[in-house]
Amino acid sequence: MDQQTDQSGQKPLIRIENLGRTYRLGETTIDALRSVDLTVQVNEYLAIMGPSGSGKTTLMNMIGLLDTPDRGEYWLNGELVSELGDSRLAKLRNREIGFVFQTFNLLNRANALHNVEMPLIYAGFGRKERLSRADHALEQVGLADRAKHRPVEMSGGQRQRVAIARALVTQPSILLADEPTGNLDSATGADIMSLFDQLQKAGQTIILVTHEASVAAHADREVHILDGTIASDTGAVVH
């Protein structure tokens, strides 16, 4: 029980203890994560920072359930997820995590609406329900009028907004953004960051992974990773 509730008695969204991940490349082994402890509360706005090769991407993959740890434990919403199999992980990724990538990762063949609809297919929603939710999500990011456009017909900022709508459409516990402004000019990047700020104010938990201080400045809490461990943590700010 003590692992699932903290001192304040509140149940944390994420609780990571002693997490480690080692990659093997032939003879050599690389400790991408040595021993990470991290607790994230609901509605936190967190930035994970660190130079490339520090292990921040590995940590993000762990949090996003794309990778599984070799050591340690990871509780998400009270469920021990570090030991789960593929289909349960896929279900949790679908329900709990909304990904936003540096390179947007939209399907070029599909229009904005169908891109946003996609996670709902795997959630098992009917077509009508899917389309109305996707419409709503596009509205949320201010792209209701671009629903029928394909990614190639949109600007970078618009594409990233579609990606954010896709991440939000399942109403996930965590919005997980990996360098969301990395491929955008600074004005568009600022737009995207203010969208994140609004979402956080509306109650969304957000985890940003970035090496840009200006992006991290939007977050309430900064966690610095170095050589596979947490070098500094400004601490939780719970709203």
Partner: protein, 402 residues
């Protein structure tokens, strides 16, 4: 619900690379069309042979005068005679009828036209034993043979040959080598059998042929009808024994006659056709498998091309099974679409060939079902590896794939 979505994605992907998909499908299309056509043709050929088998009355052995050798040169020896007929009748117990045939080619004049036709002298049993039916008139009778009457029966195509209405011919006269004959009947057309068309022959009593037309009693052929239920092999041995004795052939010497069993020959032909059509269907099946390998190849390309998409889908919550099923559906859609086009093409091809060959070549429901199921199976079988390759992709690596 998810299945419908996966079908939609598969259709989208096939449409996006339509030409490539079509080329890939060609293997399946050709394979299925070939299977359908070959099976239909095989069935048609079988039917044609079966009809011929049915048209033969009972078991009939044919004895033909064979080739003899004179100073190393093959010469026709006309060694079958009325004595042979009598001996066979007397000494082969399983015989129910014996039909001698004496054939000569003669000039025939009917109306104001001349044709060179086969004149066959025979006996009344000829029609029964050989399965000929009367179209008009009557058969040659024993009385005709006894009195050496000058009466003639025409094959079904003779009236066509002389461009005369067959209904007008009974009772009319025709000239064979200048001798006048009365036309007493016309046979129904029989069609060609084993490279032999008898519909242009003219039949006359055997005695008339011997004394008034051919001037010889050497027979070209003796038809021997064997009683039903008698082992044809034993009958052949008996006939051979009697004829060798009659012809005084010393042991070890070759027969101076040929014995053949039409029914057995047709049955052999039937077997050969069956084997041939299996062989063709087998080759067609191999082309289906080659088509399947083509599908596998293109699916592997598709999986590689869509690595990033697979990564995205996995990140959005697609399970391994979801990805697997999606790519299997795509592979099977290609194969089934190819299969359907192939079935249509095969149906058209066998109808065309049927009209050309004059056969009935029914496109069987079985062949269509088998071809369809087989092509779906090919899609499933050759789709599994690419699909499982897609399903087992590491989402992190897939998302980073350029």
């Amino acid at each position: 619900m998810m299945f419908v979505e996966m079908l939609r994605v598969a259709a989208q992907s096939i449409r996006a690379n339509f030409f490539r998909a079509f080329l890939t499908m060609l293997g399946i299309i050709i394979g299925v069309a070939a299977v359908i056509t070959m099976v239909a043709l095989g069935t048609g050929a079988q039917r044609a042979i079966n009809e011929q088998l049915d048209s033969l009355g009972g078991n009939v052995l044919s004895v033909r005068s064979g080739q003899g050798f004179h100073r190393g040169v093959a010469v026709q020896t006309d060694k079958l005679t009325a004595d042979d007929v009598a001996a066979l009748k007397r000494d082969v117990s399983s015989v129910t009828a014996i039909v001698p045939e004496l054939s000569v080619r003669r000039q025939v004049k009917l109306g104001n036209q001349n044709r060179s036709l086969n004149i066959v002298g025979t006996t009344p049993e000829f029609a029964d034993v050989n399965g000929f039916e009367m179209l008009y008139g009557r058969m040659i009778t024993q009385g005709d043979v006894g009195a050496k009457r000058r009466v003639a029966l025409l094959g079904g195509e003779v009236p066509v040959e002389f461009e005369i209405d067959p209904t007008q011919l009974i009772g009319q006269r025709l000239l064979i080598q200048g001798t006048s004959f009365e036309i007493i009947g016309i046979f129904e057309k029989k069609g060609s059998q084993m490279f032999d068309n008898q519909d242009k022959n003219v039949w006359i009593p055997i005695s008339t042929a011997q004394y008034r037309v051919a001037g010889t009693d050497n027979l070209g052929k003796i038809g021997v009808q064997i009683a039903p239920g008698i082992d044809i092999g034993q009958a052949i041995i008996d006939v051979e024994r009697v004829l060798r004795r009659e012809h005084k052939i010393i042991p070890g010497a070759r027969n101076d006659f040929n014995l053949s069993d039409r029914k057995q020959f047709l049955q052999m032909q039937q077997e050969a056709t069956k084997i041939f059509s299996y062989l063709l269907a087998g080759i067609a099946g191999i082309s289906l498998i080659v088509g399947g390998i083509g599908i596998m190849n293109i699916m592997l390309v598709t999986v590689t091309e869509r690595t990033r998409e697979i990564g995205i889908r996995k990140a959005m919550g697609a399970t391994r099974a979801n990805i697997m099923v999606q790519f299997l559906i795509e592979a099977m859609s290609l194969c089934i679409a190819g299969g359907i086009i192939g079935i249509i093409l095969g149906g058209v091809a066998s109808t065309l060939l049927a009209n050309l060959a004059g056969w009935q070549t029914p496109v069987s429901v079985t062949a269509v079902t088998v071809a369809f199921v087989f092509s779906a199976g090919v899609g499933l079988f050759f789709g599994i590896w690419p699909a499982s390759k897609a399903a087992s992709l590491d989402p992190i690596a897939a998302l980073r794939y350029e």
